[in-house]
Amino acid sequence: MAERYSSFKVGGRRWLWQRITAAFLVAVLAFHFFLLHFVNHADEVTFGMSQGRMQELTYFSLMILFLLTATFHGVNGVYNALVNQGLSGTQETAVKAVLGVASIVLIVQGVRTALAWAGGVPI
């Protein structure tokens, strides 16, 4: 048998979570593109229109989940691609820390923006 060839470590859960988030993102990313380019047009975007959508709890929570899953899927993908290219040891630890901090910054900034549109959690 040829040597094992994968971007993921044996026995890890990252592979499974990458697939679970992928299945969710396939649907939500397609919805996001369709809603914001075909139903609404990108050049007609105003704060008020974004606010109107974000004040709906269903849309707000979907977008927060979209942010969380996209960040995980993207950053986990980058991490695994680098490990696949031979990243290991101290460099791997450093990259993991940088990616972890970048993810937190992205999520915090995304949630703050969502809250600015919605004027707080729309419950």
């Binding site: 050049d43 993207g74 691609a81």
Partner: protein
Amino acid sequence: MSQSYDRGLVEDFGRWREFTAGMWAWIFHKFTGWVLVGYLFTHIAVLSTALQSPDAYTTTIQSLESLLVVRILEVGLLAVAVFHILNGLRLLFVDLGVGLESQDKSFYASLVLTGAIVVASVPTFLAGVFG
């Protein structure tokens, strides 16, 4: 036991002429993944102008959307996203044990479908930018 074969290193780009469909799919999936994660950070940064003021957000988005180069980049983003979605579905099915034997055909189908969706979307993505 699953079957596998030694198809050599995909990282050895110098032998790209020998690459099989599956290897091209791997490369395109990595490339589109890098573009999408880069865009995700850019996207949140641009949307964050909403934290400044409603006017700053509306002006920023509408100014960007008035530029032809931004619209063309958006078409590129659509191509990248559609391919990543379709090839991602292909990977999910292969992981579930469906379609491994025809994985090369499903890669070509992903490419053709991506091309068709992108071409059909060009009028919508460029609407209003010329006047």
